[in-house]
């Protein structure tokens, strides 16, 4: 089941990412990014991260992508016109991206034995669930960083309001 889930949803994620790259209209790119995020949620679930799978669906494909779609709608963003773009992006960028990919893949493949195998449902013992495990650490050891993120969110909200406000 793990293999089937990985092939189906991993393939779906790659196809969605390629569609994001190839589509000209921003709304099509946004919807294919939703496909990528939903299939990543399934992959998180298969790796035993149920809480993250749920919050991926709620936060990423729910909140953030709706925000993107709202902005695309608000600004009436049309198809991007095909321009030459910057030379440097084509000359340095693509070989650079390919080099990053080759390097990462080489390292992962050469360490394949040490990395081991996954099993569906993950490492969870049957006593504590994934969410209680996360929340125990989050509300005891990492309480201060957790509270600081609420300040960060508050600052981000204020910043968004100030930046998007109409100038008088």
């Amino acid at each position: 089941m793990q293999l089937a889930l990985f092939i189906i949803f991993g393939g779906l994620a790659v196809l969605g990412a390629l569609n994001l790259l190839l589509q000209r209209h921003p709304i099509n790119s946004a919807l294919s990014l939703v496909v990528v995020m939903m299939s990543l949620a399934v992959l998180y679930w298969s790796l035993g991260a149920e809480f993250l799978a749920a919050s991926q669906v709620i936060v990423y494909s729910g909140a953030i992508m709706v925000f993107f779609v709202f902005v695309i709608m608000l600004l009436n963003a049309g198809e991007e016109e095909r321009t030459t773009g910057s030379r440097a992006a084509y000359i340095v960028g693509f070989p650079g991206a390919a080099a990053i990919f080759c390097l990462l893949t080489f390292v992962f493949l050469s360490e394949r034995k040490a990395l081991g195998y996954t099993n569906v449902g993950g490492y969870l013992n049957h006593v504590t669930s994934n969410i209680s495990e996360i929340s125990t650490i989050l509300f005891t050891k990492l309480l201060l960083p957790f509270e600081v993120t609420s300040v960060l969110i508050l600052v981000a909200i204020l910043g968004a309001v100030v930046l998007a406000r109409k100038e008088q």
């Binding site: 793990q2 293999l3 990985f6 991993g10 994620a13 790659v14 990412a17 994001l20 790259l21 921003p26 990014l33 990528v36 995020m37 790796l47 035993g48 991260a49 809480f51 993250l52 919050s55 909140a63 953030i64 993107f68 902005v71 695309i72 600004l75 963003a77 991007e80 095909r82 321009t83 773009g85 992006a89 960028g93 650079g96 991206a97 990053i100 990919f101 990462l104 893949t105 992962f108 493949l109 394949r112 990395l115 081991g116 195998y117 996954t118 099993n119 490492y123 495990e133 996360i134 650490i137 989050l138 990492l142 993120t149 600052v155 981000a156 968004a160 309001v161 100030v162 109409k166 100038e167």
Partner: protein, 103 residues
């Protein structure tokens, strides 16, 4: 038991998604699409974190992903507000025409 998937396969999938994100960041000319490719790269890194958390039987990686999600939400809010402000003043979303700091 069915066939198992190596952890390396998940990591390579994350590398593929990250590279596609880098390529989209470079060739896209629309400001919103460029911002979306940054989100794609963040998601690829999150998948790496979850795969390593699974491998080490530690929940710390998942907590890291949780914080990345929080920061990504804040970043999306501020970034899209900046995009709206740019569109108000420049009337365009094409990055080739947003070159105020270049000249």
């Amino acid at each position: 038991m069915s066939a198992q998937v190596p952890v390396a396969a998940y990591l390579i999938l994350a590398a593929v998604l990250f590279s596609i994100g880098v390529a989209a960041f470079l060739i896209k000319r629309n400001l919103i699409t460029i911002f979306m490719s940054i989100e794609l790269m963040l998601n690829a890194v999150n998948l790496t974190f979850v795969a390593f958390a699974h491998m080490w039987h530690q929940v710390a990686g998942q907590i890291f992903v949780f914080f990345v999600m929080v920061v990504a939400a804040a970043e999306a809010a501020v970034g899209l507000a900046i995009i709206i402000a740019i569109f108000r003043t420049r009337e365009t979303l094409n990055v080739d025409q947003i070159d105020l700091m270049k000249s």
